[in-house]
Amino acid sequence: MIAILTGLGRWVLGKLARLGRANLFLLSLLGALTFLFKRPSLLIRQLYAVGVLSLPIILVSGLFVGMVLGLQGYANLVDFGATASLGTVVALSLIRELGPVLTALLYAGRAGSALTAEIGLMKATEQLASMQMMAVDPFPRVLAPRFLAGCLAVPILTGIFTAVGILGGYFVAVMQLGVDGGAFWAQMQAKVLLFEDIVNGVIIKSFVFGVLANWIALFEGYEALPTSEGVSLATTRTVVITSLAILGWDFLLTALMFGVW
């Protein structure tokens, strides 16, 4: 009995300590960001790695998600003779939920796992330790550029995902299924609000998701056990924890932004 309680206590304390380390890690990251004003080239390289290289998966998934929304929306709305609101359905679901959430999930799988593996291996091969030996702080040089690049890339990718998705929905609805193109755009414009929907959904939500995804990915890499097994474990955890965090925060943000007050 006492052993069970001790185990529970150890587990809780361990989690709490880990959470504390994660917060201190985030503080050091934010503190190191100013260095990037002196060396913006570090940021460019990371933007390429997490942003440009994530483009293909974002473009293709956005297109298909939009096309599926168009098909499914049409199949349901046609019974009510309300196919003209298909544009609203596609645009609102992409802008408010699917765009930010799916982009963040794809980002976690595509770029977050890579970040964890990279940092974890740097730690396992003692590159971070040797930088410290030479009195070079790895936070501004290695971690901060990756963090900031990721936080910038996720909103941009979300914007691209959403725009491509709406175009995909337009393609299926208007060109394939014969919904009136004018009604498609007009109904959309009548219902989608710039500040309430686009700024809240595409920009603020995705920025929060970007901070979460990159923070978790970098922290898991930094905390990984310096073995090949430790790195693989950390990579898996990044994807799992990021996905859960994004879905949980999405509920919270949706309740705050679009909930009934």
Binding site: F80, G81, A82, I95, G159, I160, A163, W185, Q189
Partner: protein, 157 residues
């Protein structure tokens, strides 16, 4: 050279992102209509507004000429006060125009339809429409039909 290529790709990436946001703002959202609140405001009192919502369109002859900007309750007369902003291009609406709350289609949203009157003076900022027709509330309509049937006042076949 390598650094330059990287910069080019990142530039393309950021430009794509900006283009996406521009598309969302201009083509998808209501940005092009944000200036609409600049119009002049007219008010109308309704007994019952049904399901009318703020931002619902105001039309005349089926053409959208404005938007509902606020809905309040007059605590004296217990009537709903609907304030509408009308596009300044349409500044020659007669003062005896009437407003009614209509529904687009069977399941569509409700909007305010204006019917022009015949006076020579025109509506301006702060005018109040005298002639209004409330929204049709389905329950009341059914209730009326039922009372008519019960009192043996059946319409001729």
């Amino acid at each position: 050279m390598r650094q330059k290529n990287l910069e080019l790709m990142v530039g393309v990436f950021v430009a794509l992102g900006l283009a996406a946001f521009l598309l969302l703002a201009l083509k998808v959202s209501d940005l092009t209509r944000i200036g609409e609140n600049d119009g002049y405001r007219i008010m109308a009192h309704f007994e019952n507004i049904g399901g009318l919502k703020v931002r619902a369109p105001v039309t005349l002859g089926g053409v959208r000429i404005g938007r509902v900007i606020s809905i309040d309750l007059d605590s004296q007369s217990y009537e709903a006060v609907v304030t509408m902003s009308i596009d300044p291009r349409y500044d020659r609406l007669p003062t005896d125009s009437s407003a009614s709350i209509l529904t687009s289609g069977l399941l569509g949203e409700q909007y305010v339809g204006l019917e022009p009157g015949g006076m020579d003076s025109y509506l301006s900022n702060g005018s109040v429409l005298k002639l209004t027709q409330s929204a049709l509330v389905l329950e009341k309509l059914i209730g009326r039909v039922l009372t008519n049937t019960a009192s043996g006042d059946t319409p001729p076949k």
